[in-house]
Symmetry: D2
Subunit: 334 residues, 4 copies
């Protein structure tokens, strides 16, 4: 940790601070410049409250030089983590296509979609059973029944299943779900993160609407600190002033995360844009910048089909997209 003091700091104040820092168990190197004093803290600086020090009147700024994340840090674990779900692999050069409907609606729907996306090359089936809804009056999902229907679709197709959990007390219902999804609104639900950290099954962690890269990594760290190392990160759009798409898909995060962490990074273009016709271009872009997978909404509902819209693709569109994604990945050398 580096502490930069303001120009006009009194020596007495400065010495009080240095004394206090040393009491916390760190060594302090003083480097006196023309316009400022720089304190370099050596030792176990994790105990020092950065915000507290930064807020002192005499302090210009504080710079953390060691990353606060350990388990997910590529520095300490240079090889890509490969998350395995049965025969399916994500990461380390293994690209994974996850597809399925926004919500599980009934057996016919989920089985039909599962068959169709499997035929197009999807390796995992997604489907919402517990739905995070802004309004308490909106449909909240089929819940336990939805999970049962997903399992039927798995039995029919062999596709492992991914579904979102919203509450610690619902976790037992997910015992037989292959990948547990933590949604964007729960990215900093630390209680839930801690609990899935106790499990030994893959967790798909979505980036929050307004969370930084470091915060995403620290949330992965909550899970991994509990011993669960099978974490898949997912970019799904951030909230900005932009109003022409639901969220702003932040693709540069993919190569940035690849540098900072060994965990696989996938992209959800359906939720990021909220518009079906933007799913294809954004999926191709994600594949081109080296995402480890895509999570795409596909429906086969004639009502939606009639409408020719929503953020979900029709099975035939998904089939075409899957081929294009494969072609892009071949030429970008991954």
């Amino acid at each position: 940790m580096i502490v930069i003091l303001k120009h006009n700091t009194q020596e007495e104040k400065r010495n009080q601070l240095i004394g206090w820092l040393k009491n916390q168990g760190v060594d302090v190197h003083i480097s006196q410049g023309e316009y400022q004093t720089v304190l370099g803290l050596i030792g176990d600086t994790a105990k020092i409250d950065k915000d507290l020090v930064a807020s002192l009147d005499m302090v210009d700024s504080v710079k953390i030089v060691t990353d606060p994340f350990k388990c997910c840090n590529r520095k300490f674990h240079p090889d890509d983590t490969i998350v395995e779900i049965g025969d399916v692999k994500i990461g380390g050069g293994n690209f994974c296509m996850i597809a399925g409907p926004c919500s599980v609606e009934n057996e016919e729907q989920i089985v039909a979609v599962a068959r169709s996306v499997k035929a197009s090359g999807a390796q995992l089936l997604r489907g919402g059973a517990f739905k995070p809804r802004t309004s308490p009056y909106d449909f909240q999902g089929l819940k336990a029944t939805g999970l049962e229907l997903l399992k039927i679709a798995r039995e029919e197709t062999g596709l492992p299943i991914v579904s979102e959990v919203m509450a610690v007390n619902d976790l037992p219902l997910f015992d037989d779900v292959d990948v547990i999804q933590i949604g964007a609104r729960n990215m900093q639900n630390f209680d839930l993160l801690r609990e899935v950290g106790k499990l030994r099954k893959p967790v798909l962690l979505k980036r929050g609407l307004a969370n930084t890269v470091k915060e995403l990594l620290m949330s992965a760290e909550y899970i991994m600190a509990g011993g669960n190392e099978q974490v898949i990160l997912c970019e799904r759009g951030i909230r900005t002033f932009d109003d022409y798409t639901r969220n702003t898909l932040d693709l540069a995060v993919v190569p940035v995360l690849h540098e900072l962490t060994h965990l696989p990074v996938i992209v959800d273009p359906s939720h990021a844009t909220g518009v079906a016709k933007l799913v294809r271009p954004m999926a191709l872009a994600a594949a081109a910048c080296d995402a480890d997978g895509l999570m795409i909404e596909v429906h086969n509902d004639p009502m939606h089909a009639l409408c020719d819209g929503a953020q979900s693709l029709l099975p035939e569109d998904f089939d075409k997209l899957a081929k294009e994604v494969k072609a892009v990945r071949e030429v970008t050398g991954k």
Copy 2:
């Protein structure tokens, strides 16, 4: 709900949509303009999925004309809600000063701060026992012990206590806490909102870092839909491109919320700015624009005092501020 169709929509597509809408149980009024067709939906439009309709190729945009929030809507409940905690009232012209340390550290600290803020006119004591921390390696609070220490401070001073809950399974520990706080990161933890909605005690609901006014009201609605009508809203800064304060305090939300809802609205200038010397000006500004209360961090810790900083005020600063806040409220006529 109003649906604006694109210029070049084929009549057949348009009729399919109208047919589908009527099947959902609403009447459709068609108004044909030179460049667009406007569909006015009459009846119970709550069942219609706005996002689905908006994402159709033929649809330019969809406008919801009835507010999705009911219980907290001033239209249906014109009088201010006054939340009562023992003798303390918030809302309806009753201003409430909530003060206390960021974290409960030990009995001596919390009792001393409680006495001091009470002497300065605070009506509620705040103190963190369960702390939401970005890092799993940071201090997570004294937890149950912290709550016990708060109760001791309450016994010593008579001040009712406010503390943050982070997990549904911790709620039993809060049985004897007077006001339950839901932090910014949990504003859309719908599971937790639903559970505190089952209680019959005041909930202080903080606005999330990147949540809109409507989302804040919908989260209040989750609590109130469960029958718990004692909700206090709290603005504590939003995340923007700005980097000179921890968050951007959004004070215009205070009069805007007063128009939309009957619930009391308070402001937390300590967390919003993260800098002690900005607490006074932002607290005065909040009082001037008619907030129903303030939530302010106060410490009496000599280590912090030495440092003359952090986002917490010293007791003597709080005392001076409380007097100024009172004076501002007198001249702004509330």
Copy 3:
């Protein structure tokens, strides 16, 4: 234009508003719902001040249903605009690679970079002569001399040149520059837009740091309304809360602009990210989502080369990237 009135609007107030609207020369259709009244304005609504109407106490919201942009609107001009610069074409399926150094430094540098990027397939040479700098104390570019050096490089290589203009009074210096760039900070310098609208040469218009898609199109409209129809739009990153790249590259804007306008849309991954190693992945992503071109910083300066960094690529990296971009475009079917 559609005006939605609030629930409790008095009939007298409503009639005053309708009378005033009719005085402005529009017809008003009234549609009375259970909870609101919707006014549909028919006729020349361009004269009506939307903001004024929206701010009335009785008005819930106002919805513009006809696009405010005409010249650049695909509705009125369905075919792609192809901007031609000598033999070079941008748009309508013609992909264009623009490359060159951030700043023109000297003849040797600019000629060497020009030769190298030409050999790699670049069709236009970029180079900054007038530099927008946040600080008045920073290097402001070689100005007129820089433009002369660009012309020498053009003579040596045949590559047409692109350079940024910052002031109306400098425009005469750009008489012999092939494409005039308007930088992000000047996207709403309406005076400058109007002046380049009087020219008959291509203008490369960069999106402002915090400007919406509609604002970008309206700025193009300023240029086109003056009769200059050769406008190239450029996405170069927006300002968000994100702090790990200089800006957040907003690639979904590419397909969105393709739908709204017939103008070509290119992407500048160098300025968007500010980091050399992110240029390749973001350039490939832009190509995959159907951008009409890329604008990439390339240097050959040994000092920079030593440092192996900055947001500029080395010539050999650019060469490799150009091949990959071509391959991506081939498989994405453009």
Copy 4:
């Protein structure tokens, strides 16, 4: 300047960088930590390109420790600047009320508004003659005629006048305008800033929609570096994800600017919110947090009055507000 190198930097690379830095004329102090190396640069670091250094592969981050702004920096000029316009003073404890219509419409209007706001205590008259409009098809103001009408209103009332300039070539028309306003969209129109820096009259500089505090100060620096020291800064709302007001008024910037600079800081609640009924609470909040003045839109147009809305206040509302602002300032001790 402090340069923090990454953990695994090769010594050869490190030495190359140090050699290059020394060639730029600075001394380099090396401080070797367990996990990183910190280089402290001593001497004239202004010549070193921070972005270039920061983007090097081996560099973790760069920290500027001396402020890039000099003329407007309170460190070098501790006393408040008081800008004087005739008898009117802004700054150094002198509060200034600026009021007037959004646009100058005709003589009757501007003279009537001027008389009314003067009677209520306004000290400066504002009025738009050149209007920045997103659309080229919208009314662009009365231009030169508008300025002439403002001068008539000045003659009638004695109030000095403030109006916005949008183009360098229009500056001669402003010879007899008392305060020149630079609008938010032109905050980084460096050409225009440089030109008003050559004048010797007060400039009111509005913060851009998405500009940081440092960028605002650097734009003031452009003006002051030209020798014009009479700069008034103005907060007028920033662009965020929020959608319930036109912009988000960022009041914490007022005390922050007071600490960083000696220049006066005023607030424009009319443009920040875009809603008349929010002007009063935000004006009072600005006064409470120690702004040096307010800029408020006032109209007397019966059409607007009919509508009882817009972002402009009626004269009687302004009169009441002016009294309340005065009362707030009295109790907050300024």
